[in-house]
Symmetry: D2
Subunit: 358 residues, 4 copies
């Protein structure tokens, strides 16, 4: 195709006319547009919690919070996506910081959001008027178009991570945004949110709410439950029963109790626990993930590189970049990814060396 | 149509020939086959727990348990369905009784089954090798084709109710049956079954088990959780939030955590709690239900009759027979019905006087 | 279990008290209630078209048609279900006969219905005001709660078969019924119904009707299309491509174009074509079927018996009774069954000797 | 937030450290990342068929076709997305040109593809070995991972448009690609493909293929059927029946016969017909579309601009840009968009002035 068979002037004119007419030939781009395997521009990368927390703290001292900017949130910028503020092509991930007695005003948006707490406590996120306590190990949801704000009920600052589908929403041009109340609409600080009181009972559904919901109506997934579920999986494995996804590797997916599926239509959330000394298979997966070490330390292989990671450290795995975890001691990790997008649109593939692609 | 217009001899011959040829004319049967509203042969009826328990106890002394008869279970016979052993056209309901250290041998069948415990403890039901403790207020599942047996680990007898879709399975000719082990395959008596350890964490799904299941993989729904869920609904109602299905009437449906839908494809299980003094609307519903009072006392209206009912009493509501509950004091009731059959086949209708049929 | 271990008087009293209290012990009934494989009361049976048609014709002369009786329809009575008017436990099947210029008045009911035409023409069935021509080989639908009546636009009588879920609706007490217009609401006799004009274009859906429907919105499935689909399957088989369900056996399922699933929630309709000389595997299937020979002749094995059958003959296959078809010449058969009930409730099983149960 | 409260040096250091640590603050980007309504970078634009065809013809003379470049396809480049070769953020659209007796070699890829023919004939696209004729008005599918090539069976060139989800697949990093045969694997040129012979019968499904498929198994949607469906909708409207989506505006969606849903998981295809003089409402829709005028002429309003368009002209409507069509004479248009992505992920919204957002 690339050997020109005709006079060069005509060809040059043709290429000029492509451009003049708002056109581009496929044959010069095919390799880039349709690679043999996914060829992400985003890169695997590790961010250190100490550095993030330090910079968040300095922001807390220097940058006020209020209407317009909305949140004191500092996004991870993938080194392959400079200038974007995106952690992966589809996902945004930030550390958010709220000083003692500060309030992040209410707003709502099409973008789906969650928060995960690696340390600290004292903030309540108020979701559609329901105050939800945020504590270590909790996953808190703010699905699309729910009003939400945060307020710190204590004298001490608190930091956590936010995950949103901002890049995907921006890319597909689906986002709407609306300001809400300047203060949170309910300043109470209950231990348990109303959403948990209604929906937080395993296998029991309120008959007053039988319509399925596209996102989970359960606003908080508490650490104690997650920890118990993982502990039981490893104990069952010890007793010889199927429970873990591979030897020494327990894992749960957070789900929408009305469907048993993912908590939100664009974001999958999971928690993984490795026993001391355990190692996962090396996996290629379609779709991009963000991981945060919750507790313990270990190593993560990302493509050709291995990194030591510890509590709070975050790392990104772009699509089809092989990854593997190895646990020094007990090793707990939270992950979120764009799995629901990949699955719902029929693009899921996983490859483990020595096995068939599935 | 019924005035004969032709000579009577020919007509008589015709009717004889219908019969001789294995035929039946619609026009003489239309009213019966296709009534204006459901006209169940089954009747509303109440069974008293004291009488049931007494008769079960006598059976315990007089009738051994073992292979062939399989279970010391005594079924409610609907007075409109004499000779059948059926509580409603679709549902079978029995009191089952197991003496101290007795065993009901293992078997499996297509029929879906559950047990609900109104009093007592000490029996473990072993479902596919997983011993499941049975205690007051618990719902225990044995979905179709799971091996199961029961054994009493104590010196004392225990009784509970069984609910199955035996009539429906028999009617539609869908049932298979297989004998299993004479003894239960695991005689341990753990507090918590393996199924609960794997599946009993609200909103958390083992990643090792992402395929949806037609019946719930959770073998036990414990009373403490049911009680907490109902208590919270009433508390939320007190605080002014939507949670109950009508004033003073809390209710949960037991669901399959892999789908958010009914626990088994033919049987719906629910728990209802009325505040002291509360009264439900009078409801007509398509499909038949069996209720058991779990605690407290009150009155139930069944068509034109009102009955006082107390702990352990069972009553049946055939399709479209209007029913209403009134609570004297706090009033807790378990119910099961054929709702999944009605819903999945598109026949659901509900009517409350003064409202539209939905 | 059956050896009495206690004094006989006490036992006799116990059994009396079962009856007095509306109870029945499982242990005396278990074999009947829960057989090892389905043990239908209904029996395999063949009805001859000549006899049916003759008796329908005589009914046409002797029995008027009108409000109350509603239809001149004569139901097949399964020899195992005497006194019921049912062809199988779940399905009703009748020959319906309408004289020249007669009208069957409009009504509607929860029961799902269809008509299949083995010979003749001249009648229009009017479904929710849409006149639908009935001709040889056509399948015409009247899903639950659609008003419908029939009128014969010619001087000549016409007969066809009706299939309904009357037994199932009666058994589960789900049926509602309402009279409509005495005359059909539209007496036009168009070649093509409005439903076909809107929905009868393969792979094309009106954007004005994107909500899925529980029953097919397509009122008529025409013979020409069915014949073409079967012809193509056999031609593809000849050319070496997968298309038939087994050698020489082409088959289509009639489907709801909004879902790709069965035409109605309780009734599955299919058309089968065997090449001359072809023979099907011997199949055990859960659920009951009614077959009608449309064209040609052959033999059907039903359990231990073999019957010769020809055009118009009907036969019934109860659940799990093995069946096999053998074609003398080209052999075309229509069938309907309760497959959607069986499938949606999780009871489907099929067994072919030499293969695993699926 | 934007009034600095602290000394400027510390703040400058903070912003430097954001960058040094691979971070970006949300508060400076919020407006861009989360606009009040979708703010697409892509722009509404019109491409003229004459210009496209001329440039394709010149390419046909100057640029050979073969392995590597794979296709002589020339993509529309959205003026808001320079350098990309993308028509919208999610969709790629090209004119493809194949000279007499040329072959485009076989390959397969995760990307979903279709072809639509605005004029010409003589090419067969071979999809998984099944030769599919391409003629005026036909929609031809090549869902993800199906091998496909094209060959021109005549002496004359042919051009058509291709639509793919290349941008979406590239953005989400989901694409795999594989070369296949240099020649098409079946050089036959049948009128009708095997896929049409098996699947092209409205409401009839081969029993040999009851598993649902994520993409339509029907490879060709023929013009005659599309035209007939639209003609009937307008005729029904004339007769006073509901059929069109608004006065004078008939429309069909191409669907997967196994589900009744979109033909492919990422791309929706539709055909619209306006009567002479008809005008659509002005619509805002989430998601991006590409339209091609198939026949006739009219005007399209795109945001603030109105364009005259005629046969073959293509135009793009980015997300939430209001659009309206006005027909001079009869006006036929094909459209495809990313509707399945928007719908499956819960982002759909439509707004018509004077109505509520839905």
């Amino acid at each position: 195709m690339h050997e020109m068979q005709n006079d060069e002037l005509a060809l040059a004119a043709l290429y000029r006319d492509f451009e003049a007419n708002g056109l581009a030939p496929l044959w010069t781009q095919r390799d880039d547009l349709m690679p043999f395997t996914p060829a992400p521009v985003a890169r695997a990368h590790v961010w250190r919690w100490d550095a993030l927390f330090d910079i968040a703290e300095r922001s807390g001292r220097l940058v006020p919070i209020g209407r317009g900017g909305e949140r004191r949130a500092i996004g991870l910028v993938n080194p392959g996506l400079p200038g974007t503020g995106y952690a992966t092509p589809t996902l945004w991930c930030a550390i958010q910081y709220l000083g003692g007695h500060e309030t992040a005003p209410e707003h709502r948006h099409s973008q789906n959001a969650f928060r995960f707490v690696v340390e600290g406590e004292g903030v309540w996120t108020v979701v559609n008027g329901d105050p939800v306590r945020m504590s270590r190990g909790d996953l808190l949801l703010t699905p699309g178009w729910n009003f939400h704000g945060h307020h710190n009920d204590t004298d001490n600052p608190m930091a956590w991570i936010d995950g949103l589908d901002i890049p995907f929403s921006s890319y597909t041009d689906v986002g709407f945004f609306e300001f809400g109340s300047e203060r949170v609409t309910d300043e109470a600080s209950p231990e348990v949110s109303r959403s948990e009181r209604l929906w937080g009972h395993a296998g029991l559904r309120p008959i007053s709410a039988l319509d399925d919901k596209i996102s989970s109506p359960l606003a908080a997934y508490r650490w104690a439950a997650t920890d118990a579920a993982l502990t039981e999986q490893l104990a069952l494995e010890d007793e010889g029963y199927p429970a873990t996804i591979e030897q020494g590797h327990a894992a749960v997916r957070y789900v929408n109790p009305t469907t048993g599926g993912d908590v939100m239509p664009t974001i999958r959330c999971e928690f993984h626990r490795l026993r001391a000394g355990a190692q996962t298979a090396l996996r290629h997966e379609v779709g991009s993930s963000v991981w945060q070490v919750f507790e313990g330390s270990g190593r993560v292989t990302l493509g050709d590189e291995e990194h030591r990671v510890g509590t709070g450290d975050l790392f990104v795995v772009p699509s089809w970049v092989p990854w593997m975890l190895s646990a020094d001691g007990p090793f707990d990790l939270f992950r979120f990814n764009d799995g629901p997008i990949i699955d719902r649109l029929g693009f899921a593939r996983t490859y483990l060396p020595g096995q068939d692609v599935t």
